[in-house]
Amino acid sequence: MKALTIIQSRFVPINIENIDTDQIIPARFLKATTKDGFGKNLFRDWRYENDDESKPRTDFPLNHSQYTGDILVAGKNFGCGSSREHAAWSILDYGFRVVVSSFFADIFKNNALNNGVLAVQVSDAFLEKIFAQGPDTELLVDLEKQSITILSTGDSAAFDINSYKKTCLLNGYDDIDYLLSMKPAIEKFETERG
């Protein structure tokens, strides 16, 4: 997993609530046996007319050249629905390292963190402030300080992250490395419970 410390970047706003993982990556694109290449199908059915890559929907932010950067900002309850980690892979593969919303579905949040994508949960009011900014505005996300700042206005907010997960992300550690180091304790647990 790639470490994440500070991200300063413009952002792509998708001001829609309850974005489910079927929108992030439709099921028909889950047929790969590797983790690569999902970015081109990120938000596929909102990005193109009739599934046609030559017909990008002009009203969708991913198709606006002025919206760019490493940060995706989306409406409340982002990532609900299917547990498909392909959703996190497609976001990472497209080039995002941070997703900002006022509420995240549990499984998506775990999947994102397990791939080095930070889910930053802010208040509804702070999210509105971000959506109110123009495309040139940059956001600064500082994981060590657990803060997100709108650089044009100086508005800043704190966000929560479990201290274990924070250490993992700052250093690029995977859970699986930790769990493998726990093998003796796991085997002892199995023996003792019978």
Binding site: D51, K76, R84, A105
Partner: protein, 466 residues
Amino acid sequence: MAKTLFEKIWEKHVVKTIDGGPSVLYIDKHLIHEVTSPQAFTGLNNRGIKVFRPQQVVATADHNVPTLNQHLPIKEELGRKQVEALVKNCAEHGIELYGLGHPFQGIVHVIGPELGFTQPGMTIVCGDSHTSTHGAFGSIAFGIGTSEVEMVMATQCLMQSRPKLMRITVDGTLNKGVVSKDIVLYILSKISASGATGYAVEFAGSAIRSLSMEARMTICNMSIEMGGRCGLIAPDETTFSYVDGRKFAPQGADWDKKLAEWKKLFTDADALFDKEYHFDAADIQPMITYGTNPGMGIGVTEVIPAADTVHESDRSGLNKSLAYMGLQQGAPIKGQKIDYVFIGSCTNSRIEDLRMVASFVKGKKKADDVEVWIVPGSKQVEAQAIKEGIDKVFEEAGFQLRQPGCSACLGMNEDKIPAGKYCISTSNRNFEGRQGAGARTLLASPLTAAAAAITGVVSDVRELMN
């Protein structure tokens, strides 16, 4: 100290808790399928390690499989390769696979319970959000991502933070024509599609206790649609008699020992929850969804809500949803033309669901311009349906009984609903494009879906029942 059902199970599975962090949680049973496992096997192979406890894993192929002519190779190349990868990976790692053609093949959340692999008091995971289904047996069961599938394969453990605890109590007697799917769609319409996010949800109350195991599974299955980390119901005699005698169920003295443990699995009288809801079964009528998340449901005789009456979590998205669905605020849903009826999925494809539909449609014929697909949840369900003559009832009604798989629930395999068409579906998600790009999904119970199959429009099943 008084404890909830969830706490009793959780505490027995904690290997270690990290200060200020998650717990290392031991996982008893792991179900895998072809879509969310290949990258996990690749991860193990890259590390040069084998599956740690292969005897605690069961695999099946369900998401990509066709539901007609299963004896032929899967036509679509990528889907076929995923299924082939599962066969190869299971062989290399010593995992029991109930693949295409096997008499136990089926939807992962249907075969776990019917084989007795799912038991009370367990921790159960699968790379599939509807793993919550297994909580109907009084187990902690939840969906995980592929990185976590790899962790469980490697160590039989996961790093998990304990969720908050919610109890939803439904008391009273169900009205005529109302079944467990209506209960869960009703709860969703009240608390919204994110109402239980961050919580483990225990379902309790006399209306829940009165349900069969199949009906309880439908409710726990859709606890993820509320955002719940898992859903669970305390095991009782209904649970024990369902598990007894199944393939993986404990036998003899082992059964007696396990049964004694299972009988302690209930929430103590004065145990505390972080949040509680109470509903009265008498308030529930046959339900249907009109929007693009499962919380957007109404009674079949109600009108589609306006922006000022809809749940606040759906207010900003209401117009977008209705535009996608081609429906209008304030219009009745009853009478809405239907093109497809899909009865299947891990929510409603068990033998009881098929029996319920068969008993209702016996002697009736489907409407001319409606296509009706009945997709059993497993080979065992299919075999039982044929044994009981249910296949004949469907044939006479003009319904098509297909072969087991996830089918039209998720727009992944060959079974897709065409763009713009309306499908009344017993599945769990009505998201945009879920059943195929542009498809319009109305979620309902098997009874309400069967009623629409007969009339060709959204109908009140109570008016058609004897």
